[in-house]
Symmetry: D2
Subunit: 446 residues, 4 copies
Amino acid sequence: MCGIFGISDNEESAKLSYVALFTLQHRGQESAGIASVKNGKLSYYNSMGLVNEIFNPSVLASLSGKSAIGHVRYSTAGSSSVNNSQPLYFNCKYGEIAVAHNGNIVNAAHIKENLAKNGAIFQSDTDSEAIIHLISRSGKKNFFEAALEQLPKLKGAYSFLFLNKDALMAARDPYGFRPLVLAKKDSSFIFTSETCAAEVIGAEIIREIEPGEAAIVKNGKISFFRFSPIKKYSRCIFEQVYFARPDSVVCGHTVQSARYLIGKYLFEEMKGVKADIVSGVPDSGSAYALGFSAASKIPYVPVFMRNHYAGRSFIQPDQKMREFTAHLKLAPIKDAIKGKEIVLIDDSLVRGTTSLKIIKSLKNAGAKKIIMAVASPPIISPCFYGIDTPTKEELIAVRLKEKDKIRKFIGADELHYLSLDNLIKACGLGDKNFCKACFDGKYPVK
Amino acid sequence: MCGIFGISDNEESAKLSYVALFTLQHRGQESAGIASVKNGKLSYYNSMGLVNEIFNPSVLASLSGKSAIGHVRYSTAGSSSVNNSQPLYFNCKYGEIAVAHNGNIVNAAHIKENLAKNGAIFQSDTDSEAIIHLISRSGKKNFFEAALEQLPKLKGAYSFLFLNKDALMAARDPYGFRPLVLAKKDSSFIFTSETCAAEVIGAEIIREIEPGEAAIVKNGKISFFRFSPIKKYSRCIFEQVYFARPDSVVCGHTVQSARYLIGKYLFEEMKGVKADIVSGVPDSGSAYALGFSAASKIPYVPVFMRNHYAGRSFIQPDQKMREFTAHLKLAPIKDAIKGKEIVLIDDSLVRGTTSLKIIKSLKNAGAKKIIMAVASPPIISPCFYGIDTPTKEELIAVRLKEKDKIRKFIGADELHYLSLDNLIKACGLGDKNFCKACFDGKYPVK
Amino acid sequence: MCGIFGISDNEESAKLSYVALFTLQHRGQESAGIASVKNGKLSYYNSMGLVNEIFNPSVLASLSGKSAIGHVRYSTAGSSSVNNSQPLYFNCKYGEIAVAHNGNIVNAAHIKENLAKNGAIFQSDTDSEAIIHLISRSGKKNFFEAALEQLPKLKGAYSFLFLNKDALMAARDPYGFRPLVLAKKDSSFIFTSETCAAEVIGAEIIREIEPGEAAIVKNGKISFFRFSPIKKYSRCIFEQVYFARPDSVVCGHTVQSARYLIGKYLFEEMKGVKADIVSGVPDSGSAYALGFSAASKIPYVPVFMRNHYAGRSFIQPDQKMREFTAHLKLAPIKDAIKGKEIVLIDDSLVRGTTSLKIIKSLKNAGAKKIIMAVASPPIISPCFYGIDTPTKEELIAVRLKEKDKIRKFIGADELHYLSLDNLIKACGLGDKNFCKACFDGKYPVK
Amino acid sequence: MCGIFGISDNEESAKLSYVALFTLQHRGQESAGIASVKNGKLSYYNSMGLVNEIFNPSVLASLSGKSAIGHVRYSTAGSSSVNNSQPLYFNCKYGEIAVAHNGNIVNAAHIKENLAKNGAIFQSDTDSEAIIHLISRSGKKNFFEAALEQLPKLKGAYSFLFLNKDALMAARDPYGFRPLVLAKKDSSFIFTSETCAAEVIGAEIIREIEPGEAAIVKNGKISFFRFSPIKKYSRCIFEQVYFARPDSVVCGHTVQSARYLIGKYLFEEMKGVKADIVSGVPDSGSAYALGFSAASKIPYVPVFMRNHYAGRSFIQPDQKMREFTAHLKLAPIKDAIKGKEIVLIDDSLVRGTTSLKIIKSLKNAGAKKIIMAVASPPIISPCFYGIDTPTKEELIAVRLKEKDKIRKFIGADELHYLSLDNLIKACGLGDKNFCKACFDGKYPVK
């Protein structure tokens, strides 16, 4: 997963991008970067690490143009290196281009292989490079026309931001897998993965960029283009379950309120459940648990203390120390746990290994009974559209198949998964409009 | 406020201190340090900043002795400099000594002035230096005897850890203002400000060091000494209201459970209150709000999103950016707020300026009514025992006197303070055992 | 100017590259980088800054392959950014390639323009990218065949190192502008810009790579290829005048001994000159001055103290401080200067502004007479082959034309330039084998 | 050894101290610090490392007073830690004091022991603390009177700078072991260990502070005090041999010119010596070698290339790399060495181990004969006045006694030491005025 942000026509474009990326940090902690255009020349600065580790006043001062795009990247196994960090920089016949991409292009390998046969050279392992090479081979007279011409050749999930010396462009794939929101602040146009990054800088949310739509901001004006008809609208339902920030508005409601509603539906599905308290696995689990508590009248009590200083920079001096640091990030709150029957809610079960550790920690702290409630259905298929799920074989719902085996594996006394119907109902767009391939195996694009 | 930690007889003493200080980080973010003794020689490393910024494997490797003490220091105005960071290091006729102190010695200035007249030299602005100078002038034959002899001369609040080449010593003032807990892990003895720092490294809590008691760990054995009778037990009640970590055990219960109970008492005192939701100011407010919700059946809904990456290292590029970063740390969750009547709970009202901003932010997000509930009584007197309160004149309860004026100042529609009786009841030791001078102006020591 | 280094078949390839680049640091202080190949996969690490600032044990540990190439880059105006730092990384139909380049390709802009028309995308401003794009469009079956096929299309100066998963390749342009030396250490083959970088790691110098020659090291064996006949041998004569390290062996002698000889020739040309002392502008000037002193019997006395700690990391706190730091790097030694008639030798006169400052500093320190002797002829033409000379208009010998006007401009009492004949004689290859375009305007390639 | 610098009445006091300390860096590379006084309050910043690594614009901005003192400290075994770095900070009955000290107080241990018996507490291992404790016990009414009263109690070598809120004070011991120079720049008074640090900031040298003299700068005026009669003038002769920077003026001449003269005397003492070239061990050896060459007409030729980037920050990735980095700092220049009979001059022979390595390196490079000439007499006694010499047993002249055994140990073909008479003659003050205890064992103070 990744987060993208772009802003036009603002003297503080890089600084506002910095604040925005900081707010989108939950979408990617591996690397971050900002590209800016000034006097017709692009500058950029990418690095591994967190937004607040990477940027300092002198770096931001060096990115002093009026338009900027930025990117935060999620840490996925195997391809973690600075040449994969974004925005990517390119120089082609249309001049300098910076690109930020959220999503996953299914036919990228195929496109890149064909391009390479004809002499194309790549600077990264990313699928994001494919589109630029397609564009650079276009016969169109400028970059943006070429982009509109070539985007339909891509299959898969993409929300793109392009920046060149003339304009800032946003484009969203025809299925609308990944979010892309348009906002405005004074005379600046803003594109962002989530509304929270626009609100933090005082911008007004306008609307989402539609599937198959592109927007180009040039000379202070915005124009909209449709480069493809909307295919089957396939917004990722997992964004609301896990990725998006609780205060972001998605499908007309905040993510927090959808999760609260899910909590209520969970209780309805588990009617008759008896427990002393309900709690959630921090951080996303707590909103579900609050909804469950409101519906069930079972009191909501936090059972874990999260260390607010535990960022990625905590250095474990050596292997031997790991045992002592097990509770460093998540410490059990003993008297909330001891002797209690607990409904514990987590957003999802992927491999099951984290739940196993958490339930063990609760049992060690004296929990009498753990009723595990999962705020989404079993995950049975990997995501090809940008979420970093493991292979099918590693998914616990595939590996162990039966619910009771899964329950045993994670050490819970009871286990309940939310039904897909209720998930869809809570997320608010109706059955037809979500990609829920991870839960039902039906992929909108292959 | 500060946090202290000490450990004996452990090959990993500095590393475990590091993990423990990280867990005590909430007690002080200005500076941190660790001193260790190896082969009869003390080493120490102090620096401004957060624990995880200061220590790295090579620094920890340089602190390789079997006993260590550590300290985190709170940022208080005016005296923020590295020579005030602790542990303090001294070399006197008893050899090398490192000292870590939590508290405030009321007669330190008087003692230091007298000492200076007789030629004493100080390396810091801290009151903590006074005791070492008293000790160094003792006629006793070793450091620890001298310490036991001199400690009674100090007035005020202190939990001390002393480390020299022979032993690790802990001492708590005769009033017991500040916490000091004894724990054990294998053959190591541990002293800590809060239980959470012992539990994180898998230690077992033994008991509190009593007021007027000292403990000395030498050659793997612990001995206890009473250097003063217990004066009026005066444990700081504000620790539970604000400072302590929710999962720490204080007075036999976790801090979280005391706060939950306070939330219930608040509702009892406000019987008949009508609201759509109850919420808390992050982070300490949420436990109160959950208790209030449980008692009132008014649903608890978070109204602010806290940015988990917002540590102190976020650099505001310039003054102009401040307005854009107002919501960076605490972003209002709009659909939880809009049109709602909200009971908002905060731990305390000091100057009132933070509440003013928070209520303004909620009103801007569309809150219909804010019923402010404060989880403690009005603060009417400054603390002289280690809590960084402003001068009497700056306290809003002193400055504006009448509750209704305070309510207007902070912009609330209603305002309620918890009664002192209920606070004491919730905190669990009974009227006689707490220092509550900030609420009633009755100082145990002057 | 830049420096390059490559090594095959060595467990310590990155570490040895690091030591070697440190020794080549005088050839470029803007950026440095190392690429290494391990288990068929390339890794690289480039950064702005000095070699010892960029690399640390953990970075070097991440570059753990058996073959490596490295690069140091000179700071030239306008194009200083990390995407221009080398080695450059590419992924094309032949797989991953890293490239390090010393020189300047005259027809790069033309080639890149044509490539861009056909869709090529560039990641840097460098001329070095041109060759990779030519190669990636070849029909040959492997990278090295393709390279040998395409290299002849380049015009200008180049010493290249290429690294891919199979082999390490070195190639030198058919004119031999820039140096490229082959050395051997145990079973490792080494390519280096200067001999000093091979000697520092205990390698044995074998010979130079010839103009138009390529060498490929694969499976522990080296093979030599001629991809072009030698054109007119055009080794850069300015390397010996200014760039190369005194202990490097060039044309069969150390650079220091060539400079010593030049000092002698200077005296011969200035026969009858009278002075109290002869001195050189640090650092390159001293070798000339020693030769002059030996021939003239005028004592050599240093007149400037160079601060050995003055690397690039000295931060001038503000503009106001600049005046105080004028002598920080080069402090006049007063009693060596006062009242003296001084023959002062510098390697070359480019813009003349540095000489002006230096002579002013000597006069302020009481020098009676400054006889400026320049160890090379007037520079009348810019270099197109990799030396960072200013535009023709900025060259003092072009701008002021007459020697006496130049003398007046720099503030010298007398001025003498070395003759081109003597320069060639001292440098040791004979008239026909040097590029001396900067002195005579005759460019071997256009 | 250490270097000290102080400046009064200058808005840029800390920045000028920074530039000055940078120029005094050769006197100490272990740690550095600056203390400054502003609005009656002292600030200071000390750290391990080099001046340009420690200070940056924000640190310097925090030291914004009008008067400042600074210190660079030499790395000596065993006591390298930040609490020994200077300026030291103290707070006593006279208020805040910062102290910078160059030298060694012989009776410090005795004084400190007595003080400790009476309750004194020390913050460092340094002998420098003794004086402050003596002062803090004085009955005098202000700090400076107390200092003048107490300084005579110290035995040994000291040049002190004291800074408090009122004034800047300099004091030099009655023997004048260590240098201390007074200079002036506009209305600022300056004290410095060496003239070079005053000249670099454009100050005018006034005179030396005399042995037993103190100077106090207050309210823009300087006053001089004699706190002791001059004892036997005992200026350290080794400063000129080894420590001082060539461009510093000592005893009326630059250090470079004294070394040049020593080179001449060496030749006179070695009359009849035959060699192809004369050379020096960088850096101090070259001035001697130039004097020798001028007298002998044997050509001076550098035989080593010193890497100008080799500061202390070069990180040897691991043990295995050490062999490859032997020549990193000092690379032999082969064609200057091969087949040559070389007079090699070094400043002194201490343990002999460095000479052994250097001569081995020359022989490996083909030197035919090494005639080692040492620019000082045999060192037979350790220094107790501030130079970091090893114990008597480690001194090669003590250990091996006979010159021929020493010659064999270092691997030279011939060995000559300068006579003490000629050293004294060259250094220019006459027999009676130098401390030459390291050469003759006669200690002025015990």
